[in-house]
């Protein structure tokens, strides 16, 4: 470990991914990169929470199927989501026979899982791990904002919680040559943003902090990467990050993008600032970016999922919104 960056000397291979996208995501620009697209986001369940659990479960089961493994072959599962007490992940694991770590870093949960799993695998403590995340528009909307049927306007700053589930299989052995080489663990950064609709502004400082720490620790340059991709800063949040990075002497205009920007067609799908939620980076990475890595179009990616660590209670008590971001260097080796 160098400063805040963990060096995975024994490479950790991402050998398989599975994605389940909601109906709206399935109409977005990345629709060809998902394994499954749902036609209905209730899935004939009694509640949207139950539907999210079902999505999460089938993401993991599909991952196991695709890699010809059973649930017992996995040494450790890392899962997380947005709901109170991360019920979607925990309840998912009732169906799956395996040791489980439930984790929460809001929308950066996917990166947290990947880093933790990579540590164990690279240290040769375990051989195989599954990292999974899920989120659902209807469950997040109810928990963080208003009832679905309340006639209220979405502010121009708002973001759309991604519906879907994503899972990735991490192993010591190389079936593919896609490997996690570095992981930079982020700090909780709070710049005093209190508007719960403006999560891009709350998370951008955390993303910048982590990107700078990563570049400093590894001695790499921005140009080293084919793509630096943040989690869910949205359109305005990414612009803010680019401006802030420029003032620190980092040029992000060439090879930078944001999963929240990539996942929807902003104009046609009326999503204001773009997507959000743990599955935003989950779907974009496991679907789109993973395919591009496999095809060799991208060779070196810095994935920086970002999370806004707020709750409805903290917002009502006028607390500002702390942000966090973890960075993962994913390369063809």
């Amino acid at each position: 470990m160098k400063n805040h960056t963990i060096i995975f000397n024994n490479p950790v291979y991402i050998n398989e991914t599975a994605t389940i996208a909601g109906p709206k995501e399935g109409k977005g620009p990345l629709k060809n990169y998902y394994n499954n697209i749902l036609e209905n986001d209730l899935l004939k369940e009694k509640s949207y929470e139950k539907a999210e659990i079902k999505i999460h479960t089938s993401a993991i089961k599909q991952l196991l199927n695709r890699s010809n493994l059973t649930s017992k072959d996995i040494d450790c599962y890392f899962g997380g989501d947005l709901l109170d007490e991360i019920i979607s992940s925990s309840f998912t694991m009732r169906e799956i026979d395996g040791p489980f770590f439930g984790i929460y870093n809001a929308c950066a949960t996917f990166a947290e899982g990947l880093i933790l799993a990579s540590c164990l695998i690279s240290g040769r403590l375990i051989n195989r791990a599954v990292c999974s995340v899920s989120s659902h528009f209807a469950t997040a909307e109810r928990q963080y904002r208003n009832p679905l049927e309340l006639g209220s306007q979405r502010t121009p700053l708002s973001q759309w919680t991604v519906t879907g589930g994503a899972a990735a299989l991490l192993e010591t052995s190389n079936k593919t040559n896609i490997a996690i080489t570095y992981g930079t663990v982020g700090k909780v950064v709070d710049f005093g943003v209190t508007d719960a609709n403006n999560m891009g502004a709350a998370m951008a400082p955390a993303a910048l902090d982590t990107i700078m720490t990563h570049l400093g620790d590894t001695g790499r340059d921005v140009d080293y990467y084919d793509l630096i991709v943040t989690g869910d800063l949205g359109h305005a949040g990414s612009r803010l990050l680019i401006t802030m990075a420029k003032s620190k002497g980092i040029d992000l205009t060439k090879n930078y993008n944001d999963c929240g920007v990539l996942i929807y067609n902003r104009e046609a799908q009326k999503v204001e600032q773009g997507g959000s939620g743990p599955c935003c980076s989950g779907l974009v990475f496991c679907g789109y970016l993973y395919t591009k890595l496999k095809m060799g179009i991208y060779k070196k990616i810095l994935l920086v999922p970002t999370g806004a660590l707020l709750s409805k209670t903290s917002s009502l008590q006028k607390e500002s919104i702390p942000g966090i971001a973890h960075a993962l260097s994913i390369e063809l080796v």
Binding site: P147, E149, L150, G151, Q153, P156, F191, L240, T243, Q273
Partner: protein, 149 residues
Amino acid sequence: MMLDKEKQKEYLAEVRKEMPKTKHFSTMLKAFITGGLICCVGQSISLLIKHFFPEFDEKTVSGFTTMFMILITCVLTGFGIYDKIGSFGGAGSIIPITGFANSIVSPAIEHKREGIILGLCANMFSIAGPVIVFGISASILVGIIYLFI
């Protein structure tokens, strides 16, 4: 890491520069049209009630008009239509009595899955509760003030 207060202000000023501006004109126009139309619907209902039941006094007519407006809203909310009117009209769909009815029925529908008593009934006034508390308290205050003048 928490930024100190001075730097926070600088950052928030920078954020304001980057963030998209609210479209004042179009939202205001939409609110005006939606609100105006809802009031016209109310006017038509009260005229119809007056027409068919000429024996009703003014209070009864206005009571029935309100109930009718609430009924229409609740049905539209149940079918998932009122929130579309709401996302178009903004304040135009919140301020009429229909917005009040929507704010009662929408959490009721949302929390039905946690049971009728602790879910639906307990959450019915999660948004409209303050309206009733403030309304009744203020009216009692006004009544008491009138006792002394």
